[in-house]
């Protein structure tokens, strides 16, 4: 089955975006990324050696494959700072995709919606392919789409918490309203969370911690990949309706001899 989706001018078949941070070592990192089947890799711009990105301590290990890089502005607290580091990333030749990530609170790292919208507007005008990370607010997600975001990335729960989808109702609404891809970013903990996100109809999920912090990150990457595929297939298949009472799957009628 060819089930592709598009972000900016790029067609993607993998619905798993993976973060490159937190892995215990480059061997496990490399193998886990391979096992995930991901085509899009994300990382914090502030941690990269921008003067020589090819030699960066993390990126040097993922250069053999044709990945699309999605650098993020994590750590930025204002639109200005996010725009500044986004420009640095593009100037270094890394990518013109940018994940806008602006947090004002050190403890929750929840996105600042006002600054995120501002940065999105500016970066869209400058020709970036912008993917903002935002809270799971349906109106806010729509506003970002209208500002020109190529995809919108609502969080399931705060970054790194692994709490799963705290508000599936909102996520469902966001998908219903959207005409750009919705990618669940942050807060997923395990395979059932990833499958649930896909069942809700999002286009893709982005994960890092649940893979990197698994006891076996390589197996977990493979498990997540399968969950995402299963969730996607289930979404396309359409689930049965829920009923209050039992009904035998092979009814009495089926056994009657004529």
């Amino acid at each position: 089955m060819r089930d592709l989706f598009r972000i900016g001018n790029q067609e993607l078949s993998s619905r798993f975006f993976i973060g490159t941070g937190l892995f215990p070592n480059p061997h496990v990192q490399k193998e886990a990324i391979k096992a995930s089947g991901a085509q899009v890799l994300t990382f914090a711009i502030r941690r990269i050696n921008l003067e020589s990105a090819r030699d960066d301590s993390i990126l040097q290990h993922v250069q053999d494959e044709a990945y699309t890089y999605l650098p993020n502005t994590s750590g930025a607290r204002t639109a200005d700072e996010a725009v500044r580091i986004a420009r640095l990333a593009r100037a270094s030749g890394l990518s013109d995709w940018i994940k806008v990530e602006i947090s004002a609170n050190e403890r929750t790292l929840l996105p600042d919606p006002i600054e995120t919208l501002k940065a999105t507007e500016i970066l869209v005008k400058e020709g970036f392919t912008v993917l903002p990370y935002i809270t799971d607010d349906p109106i806010m997600c729509k506003r970002l789409e209208e500002a020109g975001a190529a995809a919108v990335m609502p969080g399931a729960a705060p970054i790194g918490t692994g709490l799963g989808i705290l508000n599936p109702y909102h996520l469902g609404l966001i998908v219903e309203e959207a005409s750009v891809p919705i990618i669940v970013d942050a807060g997923l903990g395990t395979v059932s969370d990833a499958a649930q996100a896909m069942e809700l109809g999002v286009s893709a999920v982005l994960m890092n911690t649940p893979v990197a912090k698994a006891k076996d990150p390589v197996w977990m990457a493979g498990a997540m990949r399968l969950a995402i595929e299963a969730g996607r297939l289930a979404y396309l298949s359409g689930r049965m309706e829920k009923k209050k009472y039992a009904s035998a799957s092979s009814g009495y009628e089926a056994f009657k001899l004529n």
Partner: protein
């Protein structure tokens, strides 16, 4: 009860375990396939930096590192005393340098948890940073200053451990080429390549990056992989660096002997220990961002070692449930020098049944399952 202990591997971990076990009165033999300190341990930069090495937060690994850092003042004095050798041990403190405003948010989080765990870290910038580290590049936005971190000169430390062990009566047998564990349940029997058989009551496995070789023997998964670290040193007489200076790309640390050590790559290269131009060039490309002066200098010495990394980043520590005659102590990856005293104490406590394994559950050697 005094026991006959065989320690497999004469790196910093094996020698530290031997040192501690001998101090407690056990009969100890260290069996080394090549030369003591000849692998990762002799290559290390010697940083004792649990705060800077754990950027994410205080997990079980950090706790072990902190415990070890706090054991160091007494431990290093004991090693010096027993060996009659001296080695550099400097309480320099560390600076973790960053380049963007966007780094400050993460710094605030790190400072908070570091201070909750025994450090007096603070964020330094501008004039204060220049005073602390005068040769640091002026475009370094800020640094997280952690005064509690130290470093030592690893080759001398390992030599002193070896000498201390010998003087205390540890038998050290080198150049054994290959060792096979032929019995480990009713007693310990190890066969060397030359046919000699060594026996004992207990076996401590400290074979670093080679620990995986024992998977079949013990029937457990031992996902330990070598990650090569390439590292180099400059003559530093004209470029004083006062602290250990870290960045997201690597670190620099000045030694008493007038060298400035810059490390280190993390290469997936199997058991190949060669130094490559590319690896050293990579270090040179970022280190001048911290110390612009380095742009005009060439490192006079370059070397490499194999760090024993594990699948989840934690070492394998503790007895096997199928036979407590076998105690694992391998997979210390980037922090084996730091972790040597805490590992030695834990291994000796396991052997003496002094500590329950419970408190180090995160390091259970069987957590990856069975074959």
């Amino acid at each position: 009860m005094k026991e006959q202990v065989i320690v497999m591997g004469g790196g910093v971990i094996g020698l530290s375990c031997a040192f501690e076990l001998r101090k407690r009165g056990h009969e100890v033999t260290v069996m080394e396939t090549s030369r003591c300190g000849g692998q990762a341990s002799g290559a290390a930069a010697g940083m004792l930096a649990p705060y800077s090495e754990n950027v994410e937060g205080p997990d079980a690994f950090f706790q072990l590192g902190l415990e070890s850092l706090q054991l160091y003042p007494e431990w290093q004095a004991a090693v010096k005393l027993a060996s009659g050798h001296s080695f550099e041990y400097t309480n320099s403190g560390s600076l973790y340098a960053v380049f963007h405003d966007a780094d400050l948010l993460a710094f605030e989080g790190r400072q908070l948890w570091q201070c909750r765990h025994g450090a007096s870290s603070r964020i330094v910038e501008g004039g204060e940073l220049q005073r602390l580290e005068p040769n640091l590049a002026s475009n370094v936005r800020a640094a997280l200053y952690t005064p509690e971190e130290s470093h030592l000169y690893a080759p001398h430390y390992v030599k002193a451990l070896e000498q201390g062990c010998r003087l205390m009566g540890v038998e050290i047998i080198e150049q054994l080429e290959q060792l096979a564990v032929t019995e480990w349940q009713s007693e310990i029997r190890v066969r060397a390549a030359d046919g000699r058989i060594f026996s004992g009551d207990r076996l401590v496995v400290c074979s670093g990056a080679w620990a995986k070789e024992l998977e079949e023997t013990f029937g457990i998964r031992i996902p330990v992989y070598p990650i090569r670290g390439q590292i180099c040193a400059y003559e530093a007489d004209a470029l004083p660096v006062r602290h250990m200076v870290f960045s997201s790309q690597g670190y620099l640390v000045a030694k008493e002997n007038g060298t400035l050590v810059c490390g280190a790559s993390e290469d997936v290269a199997g058991f190949d220990t060669s130094v490559t131009d590319k690896g050293i060039e990579r270090l040179r490309k970022w280190n001048r961002r911290l110390f612009p002066e380095l742009e005009h200098r060439d490192p006079f010495h370059r070397w490499a070692g194999l760090r024993p990394s594990t699948q989840d980043g934690f070492p394998l520590l503790g007895p096997l449930s199928s036979s407590d005659r076998v105690i694992m102590a391998a997979g210390h990856y980037r922090n084996g020098i730091l972790l040597s005293p805490a590992t030695a104490r834990f291994v000796a406590d396991c052997l003496d049944e002094k500590q329950t394994v419970e408190c180090k559950k995160a390091f259970s050697p069987e957590r990856f399952g069975y074959l």
